[in-house]
């Protein structure tokens, strides 16, 4: 059937067929295992595990088989992967165990012999622990592995182990034990086993005789070895290829090539036939015994049958593994090569496998070089040294790689900086600074100077600061002032080192502060993002840096942000008086004073201050004051203030909350028309309506309802809906009914809810109405209500409604009758609603009754019902009730889910009671919540919990335990919050495969976007955003902001555009400023973060820094500086003094005449005044370049004009003082 089968012992026939035949019975065995696994495993998971196992077995077999088919071998990695997969799926079957064990022998030519056996033992033990049951086939497989791996062991011990395990050895066992004895030349031992076989009347096969040939040969007795042939014939068995092969190997081990040749000739004469594979064995024996000189004699006998190459390859690999690489090379060179037709065009390279394995096996450089030379000479490989280097790099063998590069250099082969990257990547991951420096040093000695990419991507990230790194380079004798390093260092600074500068920018540049919340918010955002984007270890590592940063921040933030609430009223008053006396503008301080007074809830004083300084009042002050009056129920002043501010500026709009406060206070004081007018104003002025606004509407309406003001409730509700300020919802409709119930007017309440249903399709508070009607015994109206519900929502809903109403009013008999209505089936949603209501209101008796009454209800999830009950037991800490519930469950034969058991166990444990069952280990993931705080310790703590939860989930998944969708979402969010993208995606996949239609919610999706951005997977982030929008979810604005900012840093204008279009309709509702796109589009043009700095420097008057920066940029971009200048100018169009910018530009142009001329032309076209210094500088530049000067050059020296300007400036500044 398969090569794999062929490679395996044939004694047991086609084992694949046997395996397939075993499938049903393995299922039966599983059932036997399941009970003692954990005790209370439900049937379903076991069945699905079983099913999975069968599938997995086929998959693993195919995987291994295709590997054997293609290459004649299995790699250790593949074997281990399948092994780990098997372990993960839970209960490994016997078949799977057999499959793995059988793969631990000669199918692993790349693995040293002893390691193969160790692997077999490890698999044996682990699978046994996991419940695999071993029979004779497993023991036999293990024996075969021992033999193939030349593993020395005691056959008697092996037998007694089998006996202990109560496994009967069979013929195959004995045959293999004989072979084991014979391999050691122990004829006596072999005879003993032979005795057992005879005793058990087991037939003696050719395999036994072959072993005996080997056995006698290994005692040195070739005569007796030869004699076995006649013994065989006497016993009626004709010696076959196996026996001849045993004899051939025996002579080969003696180095008796003549006998080998004679036997081969003899076989040929007998028209017998040995396969290439057999001859390869003889080669192996020759090599191992130290007679490589005879290998060519055997190689010449090969027939190159199909499958020769994989077999020979495996022999070659095996020989390399065992330190016989020279013979391995001989074997390799014997490969028949296919004549390559297009040899001239692309050279076919042979021997990669050989070189690679030599590298893996740490063969010395000299050997490798020798092989490479030979391959090259024989035209078998075009670039063997490069390939060997590749292997060394891939397997991170740094020393070898560097030595190979030396060799390459000696041979005149080019060395390139990126050859060091695979090594550097490794050190980067390990944070191995010495390793990194070592590679750089070696490269330097090889004459390869690292380029910018090398430093940026693989080196600098390893160092906290560049000075340390430079010092280390210097210490190690590496150049530390190369161009590559300087540019990389600048890049690095721009990316990682400009926290302070960015914050400064956020503060000082008005364009960044235009988003409504202002700069304080922007800094807060930035801080949140910053700390959020750092891992715990980073936070700890950069603690000092952050501390300094915070300190700096404190200095920078205008005092009123930080001291907002602490500003003393008196201090402000003084300030105000002082300003007033000085006839200076007081608007700002006045506002601060009003705000401070409002914070102190000092309405009287605030109003007085306002009256006193009325002409100087600004909108912000009014708004605060209006709000204060509303809070203090001072509707008159509130309205007066509002009118006053509107008189000053009719376009003024208050914010949503202040309008709502007005509506509330007006409603409360019966000024219904005014309240409705405010609602209209909200509409007219297009005040943003948020979810919280709608909640506020409800509270306003509900407050009116509680006061029993029917008209107020109805008219406000109507206005809100007709103005389109909110959509009709059950919640918003509720006050319409509440208002009647509060007045105990149940008929009107019923009318109202019927009316509500007709108008808005909602039926609020029906349950309460029904309960009241039952309590009042108003059967007539009750009938009316039921008819209505029945007609509108169906009989089933009606029955549930009335069932719950009877339950709630303690009319259990009636309730029971209703729920026993024939044909009624469980409605999990309704039952849950009522159960949660009972839990929330602590109605134990009601809940108990519901649980009991629904016992016979069709399709009722009993565990779920008891779970509700236990939930309430836990909340009320009633362990007795909990225990009784447990007993009831047993009585009812309910199989509890794990979560139910845990709930029960918790309640018992909390009350010091013993738990009478095995508590499932899984901790409920819901207990976790997303850490939002930046506190390092707590974050670390949550991180540990999250890792725990993640492991639990993986564990649970193996056992087919499912969690509710919310648990997955919570965990995904938590993982994302910790930046564990891969893990989160894995959980997402699990959830998607387990829960139909599982989607991430808004928050989790947003976090996913943020994390993807952080990982630089921008394309993925965009597609996540797309999915979010497509599924009508609303992303967090932070997610969009992050994405846009990241795109800007990449200069990806196109994607910024795409994202802008995607969120177009959402932008205002989630508070995305248009400036976000404008600013980032500008930044995207520049791409280099250094320009940020430039702007700031110019802004902050740090001329030298700005100039230096420009020089660096222009130096970097010297080929296209004209373009760069243009871009820079595009960036700063609003800069107050263009003259300054231009002069900096000119200064920084160095001797770039072309750019300078462009600049001058641009200035002329824009009518920008060129001062004397500028003209002088330009003139000098042009003259030096031998160009004509197209204007009158200022006559004095350059320094003259510089001094002149300095003087002028001093004069200006002294005037200002």
């Amino acid at each position: 059937v398969l090569l794999l089968a062929a490679a395996l012992p044939s004694e047991q026939g086609s084992w694949r067929v046997a395996a397939a035949g075993q499938k049903p019975s393995s299922g039966a065995r599983l059932f036997a295992i399941a009970p003692h696994q954990k005790g209370k495993v439900q049937e379903e998971p076991v069945l699905s595990v079983q099913n999975k196992q069968a599938q997995h077995f086929d998959w693993a077999l195919n995987k291994l088989d295709s590997s054997v088919r293609r290459t004649g071998r299995i790699t250790r990695t593949l074997l281990l992967r399948i092994f780990h997969d098997m372990c993960r799926t839970g209960y490994p079957s016997s078949n799977q165990a057999l499959l793995l064990l059988r793969s631990c022998g000669s199918l692993l030519p790349e693995v040293p012999l002893c390691e193969r056996t160790e692997l077999a033992h490890m698999i044996w033990g682990k699978l046994q622990d996991l419940g695999a049951v071993y029979d004779a086939s497993h023991y036999n497989a293990l024996l075969k592995v021992y033999l193939q791996n030349e593993h020395k062991f005691s056959p008697t011990e092996f037998l007694s182990k089998m006996e202990e395990a109560n496994v009967q050895p069979n013929r195959v066992t004995y045959q293999r034990l004989i072979a084991a004895y014979c391999n050691e030349g122990d004829i006596e031992g072999a005879s003993k086993i032979l005795g057992f076989m005879k005793m058990k009347e087991l037939p003696i096969t050719e395999a036994v005789f072959s072993s005996l040939v080997t056995g006698h040969a290994r005692t040195g007795d070739m005569e007796n070895a030869e004699n076995i042939f006649s013994v065989m014939r006497d016993a009626g068995i004709e010696p076959g290829p196996d026996t001849y092969l045993a004899l051939l190997n025996a002579y080969a081990e003696k180095g008796d090539i003549n006998s080998v040749k004679q036997i081969l000739e003899k076989i040929e004469k007998m028209e017998g036939y040995l396969m290439d594979r057999d001859l390869l064995q003889v080669i192996y024996s020759l090599a191992k015994a130290g007679y490589p000189q005879y290998v060519p004699d055997i190689l010449s006998q090969m027939r190159y049958e199909r499958g020769y190459i994989p077999d020979a390859m495996n022999l070659s690999l095996n020989l390399i593994t065992q330190g016989l690489e020279d013979t391995a090379f001989q074997v390799f060179k014997s490969f028949p090569t296919l004549p390559s037709e297009n040899h001239s065009e692309t050279s076919m390279d042979y021997g990669n496998f050989f070189l690679q394995h030599c590298v893996h096996m740490d063969k010395p450089l000299s050997k490798l070089k020798q092989f490479c030379d030979e391959l090259k000479e024989a035209n078998m490989h075009s670039s063997p040294l490069q390939f060997t280097l590749y292997c060394a790099l891939e397997s991170k063998k740094a020393a070898l790689a560097i030595n190979l590069m030396k060799t390459m250099k000696e041979e005149g082969l080019p060395l390139r900086p990126h050859y060091s990257w695979p090594l550097l990547v490794g050190y980067q991951k390990e944070k191995n600074v010495q390793g990194t420096i070592g590679v750089l040093k070696a490269m330097h000695e090889l004459g390869v100077e690292p380029d910018v990419e090398t430093y940026t991507n693989y080196v600098l990230t390893n160092f906290d600061d560049i000075q340390t790194f430079r010092a280390l380079l210097q210490e190690n004798g590496c150049p530390f002032e190369t161009e590559g390093l300087s540019v990389a260092a600048l890049r690095h600074e721009a990316i990682y080192g400009t926290l302070e500068n960015i914050t400064e920018l956020l503060y000082k540049d008005g364009r960044y502060c235009q988003t409504p919340p202002g700069p304080a918010e922007a800094v807060g955002y930035f801080l949140y993002n910053l700390i959020d984007s750092m891992s715990d270890s980073e936070v700890q590592a950069k603690e000092e840096h952050l501390r300094q940063y915070f300190h700096q921040l404190k200095k920078m933030v205008p005092f009123h942000f930080l001291l907002h609430n602490n500003t003393e009223v008196s201090a402000l008053e003084e300030e105000l008086e002082k300003l007033k006396a000085e006839k200076q503008p007081i608007g700002n301080v006045l506002k601060q004073l009003i705000v401070a007074l409002c914070a102190e809830e000092n309405m009287q004083k605030a109003l007085e201050v306002k009256a006193k300084y009325e002409p100087d009042m600004v909108v912000g002050g009014y708004a605060a004051l209006i709000n204060l009056c509303c809070r203090h129920d001072n509707v008159e002043d509130a309205m007066n203030l509002k009118e006053e501010v509107f008189r000053k500026d009719s376009s003024v709009a208050l914010d949503t909350n202040k309008y709502l406060a007005l509506v509330k206070v007006l409603g409360k004081h019966g000024r219904l028309e005014d309240a409705i007018n405010i609602l209209k104003e909200i509409k007219e002025k297009d005040i943003p309506i948020k979810d919280t606004t709608v909640t506020s509407f409800f509270h306003i309406l509900n407050a009116a309802a509680m006061r029993g003001e029917v008209e107020t409730v109805n008219r406000l509700h109507e206005s809100i809906l007709t103005l389109g300020l909110a959509k009709p919802s059950t919640n918003l409709c509720t006050p319409l009914i509440t208002v009647h119930l509060e007045k105990d007017d149940v008929p009107s309440a019923l009318e109202a809810t019927i009316d509500c249903y007709k108008k808005y399709g909602k039926m609020p508070r029906l349950h309460d109405i029904l309960c009241r009607l039952i309590e009042q015994g108003n059967t007539e109206l009750l009938q009316k209500a039921m008819d209505f519900v029945s007609q509108e929502r169906g009989e089933m809903m009606m029955l549930y409604d009335i069932f719950f109403a009877f339950l709630n009013t303690g009319k259990y008999k009636e309730a029971k009758k209703i729920i026993e209505t024939p044909g009624l089936r469980a409605r999990p949603g309704s039952l849950q609603w009522f159960a949660e209501k009972c839990i929330a209101t602590n109605q134990m008796e009601t809940l108990e009754n519901m649980v009991e009454m629904t016992q016979k209800l069709f399709e009722c999830d009993r565990d779920e019902m008891y779970y509700y009950l236990l939930k309430l037991c836990k909340i009320s800490n009633d362990w007795r009730k909990a225990e009784a519930t447990w007993t009831k469950m047993q009585e009812e034969n309910v199989i509890p889910r794990a979560r139910t058991l845990r709930l029960l166990a918790d309640t018992l444990k909390n009350n010091g009671q013993e738990v009478p069952f095995d508590v499932p280990e899984v901790i409920y993931v819901n207990a976790l919540y997303m850490p939002l705080q930046c506190n390092v310790t707590s974050q670390l703590f949550f991180f540990i919990l999250i890792v725990e939860a993640y492991n639990i989930l993986l564990e649970a998944q193996k056992k087919d335990i499912m969690f509710p969708a919310s648990a997955y979402s919570t965990l995904i969010k938590a993982l994302l919050a910790e930046g564990c993208l891969e893990e989160a995606l894995k959980v997402k996949n699990i959830a998607e495969t387990h829960i139909k239609g599982f989607t991430l919610n808004d928050a989790a999706s947003s976090l996913l976007i943020i994390t993807q951005v952080r990982r630089d997977y921008l394309k993925d982030a965009i597609s996540t955003l797309k999915k979010v929008l497509e599924s009508d979810m609303v992303p967090m604005s932070l997610a969009v902001i992050r994405l846009i900012q990241a795109l800007a840093m990449k200069g990806d204008l196109e994607s910024i555009c795409t994202v802008e279009k995607m969120v177009e309709n959402l932008a205002t509702s989630i508070g995305l400023s248009r400036m976000l796109f404008v600013n980032n589009t500008v930044l995207a043009h520049i791409k280099k973060p250094a320009t940020d700095l430039f702007l700031q420097y110019v802004d902050a008057g740090r001329v030298d820094d700005a100039r230096f920066l420009l020089q660096v940029i222009i130096y970097q971009e010297r080929n296209s500086s004209g373009q760069k200048i243009k871009t820079l100018l595009d960036l700063v169009p609003d800069f107050p003094d263009m003259k300054i910018v231009y002069s900096y530009l000119l200064k920084s142009l160095d001797n770039d005449v072309v750019s300078a001329k462009t600049l001058f032309e641009k200035m002329k076209s824009e009518n920008i005044h060129t001062d004397e210094i500028f003209l002088k500088r330009l003139a000098v530049l042009l003259k030096n370049a031998g160009e004509p000067v197209p204007f009158t050059e200022p006559p004095e020296s350059f320094h003259f004009y510089v001094n002149k300007l300095t003087q002028e400036r001093q004069e200006i500044s002294s005037h200002a003082e």
């Binding site: 065009e345 670039s383 990547v425 990419e453 394309k1019």
Partner: protein
């Protein structure tokens, strides 16, 4: 800003695959420069392994460069044949723009 969006930003791109590991951006750029001005050479590197992924995009600043390169029957660099084709789907490459790009435009 608007000006930079004009035709001058159009790039004429080649998709090159089967690139030997010994070659990096510089070698490719130098090689393709014989056909026209190479505006960009994007050779994504795998940050896990430190090796590139075996393919890259070469952007010429003119259509002529692109045509010249495509006219050459086979491209052999360091003795190894490169697979060269015209880049058609632009969206395909954007996912790699962040890696190992050297864009001097």
């Amino acid at each position: 800003m608007a000006a930079t969006r004009g035709s001058s930003r159009r790039v004429f791109e080649l998709f090159v695959s089967q690139i030997h590991w010994t070659l990096a951006t510089k070698e490719l750029r130098d090689y393709f420069a014989q056909f026209g001005t190479v505006r960009k050479c994007t050779l994504p590197f795998d940050k896990e392994t430190g090796f590139h992924k075996g393919f890259c995009w070469i952007g010429f600043s003119s259509e002529e460069g692109l045509r010249n390169a495509l006219q050459k029957e086979s491209h052999i660099l360091d003795g190894i044949k490169l697979q060269v084709q015209q880049q058609k789907r632009r969206s395909f490459r954007s996912q790699y723009t962040n890696e190992g790009e050297t864009d001097m435009s």
